[in-house]
Amino acid sequence: MSFSTKTVRQPEPAAATGTLISRRVSSSNHTWNLVLVGAVLVLGIVLPFILPAAELGIAMRILIFALMGVGWNMMSGFGGMFSFGHAAFFGIGAYTTAFLLVEVGLTPWLGMIVGMVISAAAAVGISYLALRYQLRGAYYALSTFAFAEMLRLFVIGNESLNKTVGFTVPVMFGDNWGMFQFRAGSPVYFWIGTAMLVIVMLFCIWFLRSRAGRFSIATRDDELAASAVGIPTLRYKLTLVAISAAITALAGALYLQFYMFIDPDLAFGATVSNNAIITAVVGGVGTLWGPVLGAVIVAPLSDLVTELLRHPPEWLSFLEGLDGLDILVYAVVLIAFVLLLPKGIVGTFLGRRKK
């Protein structure tokens, strides 16, 4: 007999040991997460001193991709709600910041917060309707795609949002912290981006360890079973949706302030959603650090391949000037990742460590 009612009143000492081990494992993971956040912070501070100014653009791209990937991962990786339309939230973040800056004169610091709030509210609204009426899986993903496309078309046709022209951030001279604007090639953009990523990662770590985070993961693992243990699953799904949209909107605002320009395709185009997904898939969907590692690989990939094809080494000179081949190489590399490492890099590593 494997257990008896004798254990009912007094737990075996082994049970207590089990809990201690569990706590130790969990606390060791937590320590590692904090160490990694510290490493990102240190690297972010030091990198501008090491990298040539010209490479800071790629480094910024990594940060923007990382924020997009982490945002997408909160909803799709930890929430199990696959989104094909994160461009909607990225675009709302960028456009709200741009509109409030250009038309109202509001500082981008406040503009990005407003953008995050509007993005979260829009995401909750659309997801509430979708989830309330039982849209699941591919149907839910299609609804997010339709939402992003609807916003893109709305912006293209809207005079007050400058239609297809979009917004250009008015240029100021010198560094202006209040208006989130610095001289070209300034490392401050990178430091601010790093700070944003660090804050977002700390928030995600805290959330996923919290009661709400554990309820969210339980809901992702099995929604019916989660309901059966008293978890109001819709509430926790919408919480993740709001967090995800707000983080993605932050990436949009950062994009706007760094590139100082936004238009409907750059903000709401399908490429934006694809980049968020690919970043998380390459790094590891449903892993905390997967999207960050994915961004380090995916963000520079397109630039590196383009550069390689533009100025190939002698033995690859036949590739020179072949327009569009960069996209093909980019796609092949990504397909290879999905086929060889379906759990992404971090997911595969964690899976092997468990064994």
Binding site: R211, A225, V229, G230
Partner: protein, 244 residues
Amino acid sequence: MALLEITGLSKSFRGLQALKNVTISVDEGEILGIIGSNGAGKTTLFNCITGAFAPDTGTVKLGGEDITGKKMHTLAQRGLVRTFQLMRPFGTLSTIDNVTIAVQSRGVRPESKARDEATMILARTGLDGWADATSGSLPTAVQKRLELARALAMNPHVLLLDEVLAGLVPSEREPVLELLESLRKNDGVTMVFIEHIMAAVRRLSDRVVMMDQGAVLAQGDVDEVLANPDVVAAYLGKEYGDAA
């Protein structure tokens, strides 16, 4: 007074009538066994009671209050708790996390207190050695016990068990049966359980309901119901029913 009253419950799925005017009551502290062949509507009945499905007609009352169509999580928090026929662990989480989450959903704070309670429940269900294992990769018998452990973590007032013994070998069934007996004796939990293993039905049930094609075919004392010719016919075929 009946603790759980199901009156005139019907449920159809397009052309198929899964439940037909089902009326059952369960008294406080009672163990009611539900038997019937596959497709008789037993699990659909559980789904309608616990809010997974809204019934087409009929009412479900808990302690006299109409709870028909209420959401499953609301009912679980009120102590109407169920397990599933096919195990549904939170597969990426550890065994202890599965149970801790259930304890936390009752509002137990801080987390350390919820974990201590979960640890005791794991010991009670013989899962203490599996506390840190990832629940999705547990053997079937252990996942079955986890289903039970998670239900216990909800401090159930009424526990609906859907084939909790299925997939267990006889040596694994005995401790589960002992646990269920102790739940009634020591905790006063009212139970409704769907089961195909007749020895378990005889041992645990105060009363039995036999379902066939979505309707209640017979209910009452275990031996009476099992000796009922209609019940024998439904289980074994008409010629056996006539013989009985």
